[in-house]
């Protein structure tokens, strides 16, 4: 069992819940209620549904990582499939950050700069951990 990968996976599991701590602040800080009131009900409900499912998916990723820590580290075929899925999920989030969600669109203020940097850092660590796990077993099966 690789101790570096093992520690990285424990941290990645916990990291998902740190992302959620930030996510839960988004609706209030970005004034969603006020903004979303301008949408048609169907689009508003769609937005909440999408948000809720993404939160649920992140909860599941964190929980599965912590609960299946040893299975993931063993590097079985399905474990690597799951790790690749989670790694790509976070890699895509990074791509979005540099394409759709650039910092220019964030509210102004130092705390938003710090928050954005920390989030990008966390997304990078998460993507690197899971894709690193896949790469580790890909090269040394």
């Amino acid at each position: 069992m690789n101790p570096l990968l093992s520690s990285a996976l424990w941290l990645a599991g916990v990291g998902h819940f740190c992302v959620l701590l930030a996510s839960f602040q988004v609706p209030a800080r970005m004034k969603w209620r006020e903004d979303l009131a301008k949408l048609r009900p169907v689009n508003r409900k769609l937005m909440w549904t999408y948000g809720a499912f993404i939160v649920f998916t992140i909860v599941a990723f964190g929980t599965l990582t912590l609960a299946l820590h040893d299975e993931l580290l063993r590097g079985d075929r399905a474990a690597l499939g799951l790790a690749a899925f989670i790694g790509l999920f976070w890699l895509m989030r990074l791509v979005m950050d540099f394409t759709v969600h650039t910092h220019a669109d964030w509210p102004s203020g130092r705390r938003f700069i710090v928050a954005h940097v920390l989030l990008v850092l966390l997304f990078s660590v998460l993507a690197a951990t899971y894709l690193g796990l896949v790469a580790f077993y890909w090269r040394w099966p």
């Binding site: 937005m47 549904t49 599965l64």
Partner: protein
């Protein structure tokens, strides 16, 4: 020792999970038609840039998540149906995911909208129920 019923289940469940993968791909593909159908552009023009972008990112993400889940089902159907901890845990996650979606479809979305698009509503409810049931079976009896 495996029973005949257990053997039969181990044969059928991966096939049902494989079909679930296809169903999830079909649900993901519906999202390509939603922006025009629900007039996203016109609606999103009214909100702030950041909220508009979050909406777009969420929409893209849902498609990616569904495609990823479909990929797991198509590539690892036997593992998801099997007795291992990983397969059962992922199946349990998928069962809850789709059971929640059934609840949202039935109790959250407007009744008027569902009446207006009754065929879509029935197809969605049926698909979500199928997915929740298959994954629950895999999680419990895998």
């Amino acid at each position: 020792m495996r029973t005949a019923t257990g053997d039969q289940r181990m044969k059928t469940l991966p096939q049902l999970i494989w079909v679930a993968g296809i169903v999830q791909l079909m649900i993901a593909s519906v999202n390509f038609f939603l922006p025009r159908r629900l007039r996203y552009a016109e609606n999103l023009a009214r909100v702030s840039t950041i909220v508009r972008q979050i909406f777009i990112v969420h929409s893209i993400y849902i498609v990616l998540v569904l495609a990823g889940l479909a990929g797991l089902c198509l590539c690892f159907a036997h593992e998801l149906a099997g007795p291992g901890g990983l397969g059962r845990s992922v199946s349990a996650f998928l069962a809850v995911f789709w059971a929640l979606r059934v609840g949202i479809q039935l109790f959250y979305y407007d009744a008027a909208l569902k009446r207006e698009h009754i065929t879509v509503h029935i197809l969605f409810t049926g698909a979500f129920t199928y997915l929740a049931t298959v994954f629950a079976a895999a999680a419990i009896g895998g």
